[in-house]
């Protein structure tokens, strides 16, 4: 069983590393990730959102809906924990 797990892990890792072969190098300023969508966040942040912190402007404006989801995740987790751990006050247990 241990061996099987190890094999699964090694194969997964090998596939991931295989994928890195064609990746743009670390910190490459001309990588697609830096050229396609993000320039607008950098150049237009003041103009469109009046926020100098780009992370903030993306988080709370461009992709604000993700952040709504994020808060919902926290809410879900909170409710889940209450649901799971709330002790019965009366009755058995």
């Amino acid at each position: 069983m241990k061996i099987l797990n190890l094999i699964v892990v090694v194969i997964t890792g090998a596939i991931l590393i295989y994928g890195t072969m064609d990746m743009p190098g670390w910190g490459d300023p001309d990588s697609p990730a830096s050229l396609h969508v993000s320039p607008r966040y950098i150049t237009k942040t003041m103009e469109e959102t009046a926020t100098p912190n780009m992370v903030t402007s993306v988080l709370a404006d461009y992709r604000a809906y993700d952040t709504l989801g994020e808060t919902t995740v926290i809410f879900t987790a909170g409710m889940a924990c209450i649901l799971l751990l709330r002790k019965r006050r009366n009755g058995h247990g």
């Binding site: 994928g19 809410f75 709330r86």
Partner: protein
């Protein structure tokens, strides 16, 4: 109002969920009507969305007004609109159904149960409606977290089952997230439509290949496709009745939807079919899943556990249609998303009703059940026939398209597997029906011992959803031609 319908489907239950605990603290019994109200509104919106899509074509809804590659977009085409309607109807049905079983199984935790229940539905809606890869991940996690919690409050052994689900589910979600990361790295985009535009130039790239693999494996884990199904049987068996009824039909269907999205929208069909032999591999895995599920189900003596394995086999059907990758196969899959959602929700609701009344799920203890719960068992017969694939119930038609798809591509073995699984399902369901309906008697003393069985039907809040879904199963079967010609044929990628 109508233009806002796509976003309202998600936002309404979201807001309602935030308010549910407050309402519960005020008046505990109001939680139930509250979530019914919420899901009714969502259902209403999803129907409007589907009608809008049919009348005017694909809806693009830009959240916050930011244009797609930069902001998050809701893109609703025939496929999501259709799945949305199915999911919203199913969750509404289960919500109506849940009242009594929650009162029985979780009397102390009603408020939080309903809150998480609603969040679960929200997660499903969000996954389906979104057009953004990362946003999908967020909602996938909402749905999963809610699912973990809902399962864990089930019967003896549920926490451990749920824990295993947490581990497998997190692996699945992390794989998905890794896949998205790899795609983002090479394209710089997270929007599905944008990715579909950018990716064809990069199809040779190893990064894209790996990303694709991880996305599919991640989704398959969430879907409990055959070799990755380990978490599912325990989790859905041990979960409370209404949770199994919600999760079992929907989690798998939603994941199947995501798989179709990734394979045929984000990636072009020719990539999924030709560049990697993914569809071939998937169809063989699916065949294995179908047989595995059916054979394992044969070995079960507990009805709910049997159904769980039937569910595994149904997942195989869904994936088989995707794997066949032709018009009929995909029609079969999309039709089966609907049909199987109906069948599974009905079956799990029926099991819940039986447990509620008899406190027992052992098939061998079902003697005289048809006298005790005549309507429930009649519904069980019809749904069972549908799973077996007896026309004119809807289960027949998805099988029809799937076999047709297999024949079209001359995949005789796969067609044979489908036929064989029908027979295995027949054994499964007729066995249960036999137990419930036949009272063996020795010799010829006809009508001698007519046992006095008290008629004790399930409460109305359970019975009405069961009966209406069962009626739906027959109706949808007869209407399937109409459904295919108005919706599903447009939901299939254009190149097929």
């Amino acid at each position: 109002m109508i233009e806002q319908a796509p976003v309202l489907i998600v936002v309404i239950p979201l807001i309602f969920a935030f308010i549910t605990p407050l309402i519960g603290w005020w008046r505990k019994e109001l939680c139930y009507p509250w979530i019914i109200l919420s899901l009714t509104l969502s259902t209403f919106c999803s129907v409007i969305t589907l009608l809008t899509v049919i009348n005017t074509g694909v809806i693009h809804y830009h959240l916050g007004g930011w244009l797609p590659p930069w902001g998050i977009e809701y893109a609703v085409d025939y496929l999501n609109a259709f799945v949305l309607v199915i999911v919203s109807f199913t969750s509404l049905t289960v919500a109506v159904y849940s009242k009594k079983s929650v009162e029985l199984e979780l009397p102390e935790k009603t408020i939080y149960f309903y809150t998480v229940f609603l969040l679960q539905a929200t997660g499903f809606f969000g996954i389906i409606v979104t057009g953004d890869m990362f946003n999908l991940y967020v909602f996938l996690e909402i749905a999963s977290l809610a699912g973990y919690a809902l399962i864990a409050v089930g019967e003896e052994g549920a926490p451990m089952a749920s824990f295993r689900y947490v581990i497998m589910g997190t692996i699945g979600a992390s794989f998905y997230l890794l896949g998205v990361g790899y795609l983002y790295m090479t394209t710089g985009s997270l929007n599905m439509a944008d990715l579909a535009r950018l990716l064809p130039d990069l199809y040779g790239s190893k990064v894209v290949l790996v990303a694709f693999t991880f996305l599919i494996v991640g989704v398959a884990t969430k879907m409990a496709l055959f070799p990755l199904h380990g978490w599912l049987p325990d989790a859905y068996e041990k979960a409370p009745s209404s949770v199994s009824a919600l999760l079992a039909p929907l989690m798998t269907k939603v994941s199947a939807y995501v798989m179709i999205r990734i394979m045929f929208t984000v990636f072009k069909p020719y990539f999924s079919i030709e560049m990697l032999p993914v569809t071939t591999i998937l169809s063989w895995i699916a065949a294995a899943a179908i047989l595995y599920g059916a054979v394992m189900a044969l070995a079960q003596t507990d009805l709910k556990r049997m159904l769980v394995y039937v569910l595994l086999s149904e997942v195989g059907y869904l994936v088989l249609g995707i794997g066949l990758a032709n018009k009929n196969g995909l029609t079969g899959t999309i039709l089966h998303i609907m049909n199987d959602a109906c069948m599974m929700v009905a079956l799990f609701m029926i099991v819940g009703a039986i447990v509620y009344r008899c406190g027992n799920r052992e098939i061998s203890q079902f003697r005289n059940l048809h006298r005790r719960m005549p309507f429930t068992m009649a519904a069980f017969v019809i749904v069972g026939l549908s799973v077996v694939g007896i026309p004119p119930t809807c289960g027949f038609f998805s099988k029809w398209y799937l076999i047709l798809g297999a024949v079209d591509t001359s995949q005789w073995v796969l067609a044979g597997v489908l036929v064989l699984s029908s027979l295995l399902n027949a054994i499964l369901f007729f066995r249960v029906i036999e137990y419930a309906y036949i009272e063996p008697r020795g010799g010829h003393d006809n009508g001698g011992e007519s046992l006095a069985v008290v008629r004790e039907e399930a409460p109305l809040t359970m019975l009405i959803p069961i009966i209406s879904v069962t009626a739906g199963i027959v109706l949808l079967g007869l209407l399937s031609g109409r459904i295919v010609s108005t919706v599903i044929q447009f939901a299939i990628p254009a190149c097929f």
